[in-house]
Assembly symmetry: D2
Amino acid sequence: MDREFVVGVIGAGRIGKIHIENLIRKVPNVKLKTVADIKIDAQLKQWADKKGISNLTTKATEIFEDPEIDVVIIASSTETHAKFIQEAAIAQKHVFCEKPIDTDLKRIKETLKIVKNEGIKLMVGFNRRFDRNFMRVHEAVASGQIGTPQIIKITSRDPAPPPIEYIKVSGGIFIDMTIHDWDMARYQACSEVEEVYASGAVLIDPEIGKAGDIDTAVAVLKFKNGALGIIDNTRQAVYGYDQRVEVLGSKGCVLADNEATNTVRIYTAECTNIDKIPYFFLERYMESYATELKSFFNCLQNNQDPTPNGEDSLQDVLIAMAAQKSFKENRPVKISEIDK
Amino acid sequence: MDREFVVGVIGAGRIGKIHIENLIRKVPNVKLKTVADIKIDAQLKQWADKKGISNLTTKATEIFEDPEIDVVIIASSTETHAKFIQEAAIAQKHVFCEKPIDTDLKRIKETLKIVKNEGIKLMVGFNRRFDRNFMRVHEAVASGQIGTPQIIKITSRDPAPPPIEYIKVSGGIFIDMTIHDWDMARYQACSEVEEVYASGAVLIDPEIGKAGDIDTAVAVLKFKNGALGIIDNTRQAVYGYDQRVEVLGSKGCVLADNEATNTVRIYTAECTNIDKIPYFFLERYMESYATELKSFFNCLQNNQDPTPNGEDSLQDVLIAMAAQKSFKENRPVKISEIDK
Amino acid sequence: MDREFVVGVIGAGRIGKIHIENLIRKVPNVKLKTVADIKIDAQLKQWADKKGISNLTTKATEIFEDPEIDVVIIASSTETHAKFIQEAAIAQKHVFCEKPIDTDLKRIKETLKIVKNEGIKLMVGFNRRFDRNFMRVHEAVASGQIGTPQIIKITSRDPAPPPIEYIKVSGGIFIDMTIHDWDMARYQACSEVEEVYASGAVLIDPEIGKAGDIDTAVAVLKFKNGALGIIDNTRQAVYGYDQRVEVLGSKGCVLADNEATNTVRIYTAECTNIDKIPYFFLERYMESYATELKSFFNCLQNNQDPTPNGEDSLQDVLIAMAAQKSFKENRPVKISEIDK
Amino acid sequence: MDREFVVGVIGAGRIGKIHIENLIRKVPNVKLKTVADIKIDAQLKQWADKKGISNLTTKATEIFEDPEIDVVIIASSTETHAKFIQEAAIAQKHVFCEKPIDTDLKRIKETLKIVKNEGIKLMVGFNRRFDRNFMRVHEAVASGQIGTPQIIKITSRDPAPPPIEYIKVSGGIFIDMTIHDWDMARYQACSEVEEVYASGAVLIDPEIGKAGDIDTAVAVLKFKNGALGIIDNTRQAVYGYDQRVEVLGSKGCVLADNEATNTVRIYTAECTNIDKIPYFFLERYMESYATELKSFFNCLQNNQDPTPNGEDSLQDVLIAMAAQKSFKENRPVKISEIDK
């Protein structure tokens, strides 16, 4: 018989609320016991009330010290991730943590070491892996339907850039935005990256350039299994959130196109019209958040290692760092140059 | 400021549960107070508990007699609809009722008369009108984008027939299955039907024929605005739940295709593959149930008449009856022959 | 080894010229010897010259009397078809004739009798059967891939009506325009039609109504194998020449969509645009004229009976007549009522 | 009034024959006078006869020395191109020459100098620019419909590799196969290339590696207008000849997908099937050869400079050379490093 997991959630912002809703409605055999957030206002209280959340606290330690709680979901701000993972691990609680674990290599490795030593399970929230389309692509690759992967091609374009203030502290496009694509590329290639060449330009907003970042980027990956990867990014695709993945293999090719807003075509004397693709990640990936959480708890239930895990998150950050170096020095950079 | 509506639900079967979930999660400014069902077992109790429903009763009268309740949602079995609508109307409560009101013409008219006399609002649950694709088609027609409607074409095919026992009491394909398409045709043509010609055959299962019904049907409609309609139905499309709508107009044509399971194409040395379309109405129309309920409460909030209403349901039944007569006598039948 | 066929062509109008070009460029093992046309002007002479046609005559008899000629292609005006087929048959020449053989039932039958008695081969030019898309549909049906056909659905819409003067002598929409669809329906159903119900309206141009015709039509067919058919026609689809065919079978469904002008999609901040579909039959079906001629000569080469043949043409006319009667009397009409 | 051009063709191999057929059938106001080929056998004689070509010679000089001939079409083997262009230019004849002019930089420049000095017009046969889909993409870019180009993405995959013997003398994938894509990238970006980074691998056939070449390649381009380009190539896409082009711009995105073999979809209980895309370049690009020739003669008729011209061909070769160097040295290479 299935056991019930008792869960504490740290962070009740936008993404934390999504996880809480999914926990309540979509994930079987879980009991949400405590929600911690550094700032509890009237609005959050009301929301928690409506959701039937009784324990609302500003102290994450309440979660770590609660012997009844088995699982911690970390959806707080990025700089707290490593600390909370470590505390949860030491308290012998399994962890689902939003990406990334950290942006400092040493810190990530130290955290993963503690996770390993404590023997807890850790999943990192690369939700795009749980998009129904990209899962289907992966299935075609992993099942051998398209043979050995040869070229992985990812189109990943945001509809509009974030505020300049955000850009300034984002760590740069390769760690902030492309991080999803490094992870997707590894997921679809079924292999680790050996070398990256990254190029880019400021074509959208000169302010982004002044902030020391770029807004348009392309990258070439070489995988350990011999496959090649190409990725293109823009901070502003005016026609919507363009998210496509393609894998060419020795026996075929698999493509995931954008989701449509509806299936309607309108034929007129001038042309044929289709509505715009959905705007942004909440529209496109909402379902994937529930699927990833179900996958995580399913792994716990069956004592399996969840994926993507801490090692995945580490690899993604390594590629991002290599890409930054590649762009700066305008030359291909091996991951081994970063991860000595 | 928006007022809050207090709601009672009669019937907590499959569709009743969907409405209750949508009430709780998706509709603003409503309070679900009481749920009535003729059979309350442990499972239903547990389900209600989890949903936070305190009043669970076997007596629908509790709802009608509760002065606090403003709105009644009727999702009980078809033969109770007319009775409950009448009782709700007399108790001065607005009603959302599952389709159809009744299958007896006199009974429907009597019910509508009471609804009118009591001045309450009544919406009938033709949820397909709230499918995002068909709403988009309607928008193209109603806005004049494709000009005057000339041909309405509906493809409506179930993936598998219901049990023979169900077929026997269903009232026949034209009232049981095509009822959705009569309503869709009227919705998209923006006009009432004047005449119908229906034809059909037993091509799927001889048992359906022995039960006095057909399993494959086509129909031609003539609308009062001059437009023509064609509908095709089958009880068994092995490739999935095929639901398409098309309107040809003087300035263009609008088509809603099937929803896709995913956007993935797989190219191999043999052919290109796409996954099957979603199986059945719960997969296809789940979102529409929430959209229709939101539309209903939005009308109440703004004191507008909801659509589709009792008159729509009456018209749909009249067309079904004309279609039955047409099929039996193999000739076109005017609605005025039925509705003298 | 392949033998060479010597060919005479009667009629060098638009369609005759297409056949002549295809004969010269696309059909192997044929020699075009003589072209007859009632009116030979300077332009035609120049055209014939450029094509290397030496024998240009106003007398069709030159073709019938030429012992070297094996095959006659008849592309003259409709009222001459039966006469020329008969003369060719008596002269022991195989015939490819443009549709229809005639519009008079007695005349068609008399012609077919002569064809049979003389033992020559006759193909009638229903070129749409040789469209690559509709051939692919037929292949899916005929090979059993989609099982037993149950519903045949044809969308056939012209981009613009012909001149009123043409409408007046056209014989009406069911014989002039729908004739192609009757033939397509029989081709895809792999069965003969038993009964037809036809309905229609004047929605495009009142002048068409004044000329005694309709411009918008729908029809329901019952086939001898139990399948049902639905067809819709309009004289004016402003968005282009809409030609689609669909067959639902017990094991699946096969659809042929419109040909695209190009494969380009343009995504903008407003919507996604695709160019209009090709305008009319010369754009859409040009390739099919060559394919049908190659099929005809291939049959001659291998001593096989070509399809569609005289019997096909007869059946198509019978359905057209039944449809006219059905529309006039507003009731389904059996083919046996016409073909007593 | 339009003048008539008298044309000589050098080279009557596969591509020469395509040009000759198009000259005869598709291009107005031209007279084909002489065809030269180094090897005239019975088969070629017969073919020429059937096409009505009277002058068939082994001596190209006959064409250059013929004062009546205005235009020379060069479709002989690559190593003869430069020589024949020069001779034609000196003889004051306009030239349409198959790609490339030469593979030696000095030779190309010397040839272009003579062309310029003699004032004749020269078009180089990059036929893909005249594919109806890619022309439509270019139109969307050039007209400003998608704003300033930012990312050009080209997918260009052959269905099967050429024989190893061909690979050995091909000059390598970047000059033999990607040459089309360098040209397409420049055409769609509306800008010249500044820098290229090329990467690749042997993933199809180790024999290709032994021959000193690669069979899978990706490249990143930086254009002078700031845009970025990405190209991917394989010598073997088992699912067919994959030819797609995409341009992201500041106001939208335009995509050209593959041409379909037909428009048919087959839905079964297992999945939905579409036929494979057409096999190779003769199927895909046949129409483009006629369009390019018409464009060339249209330029001559109107005294305009044809495109793509000698400078285009030079730029394409420069990029290929930079790509070769980039691949060899695993670093981005500026065009200015090659073209000092």
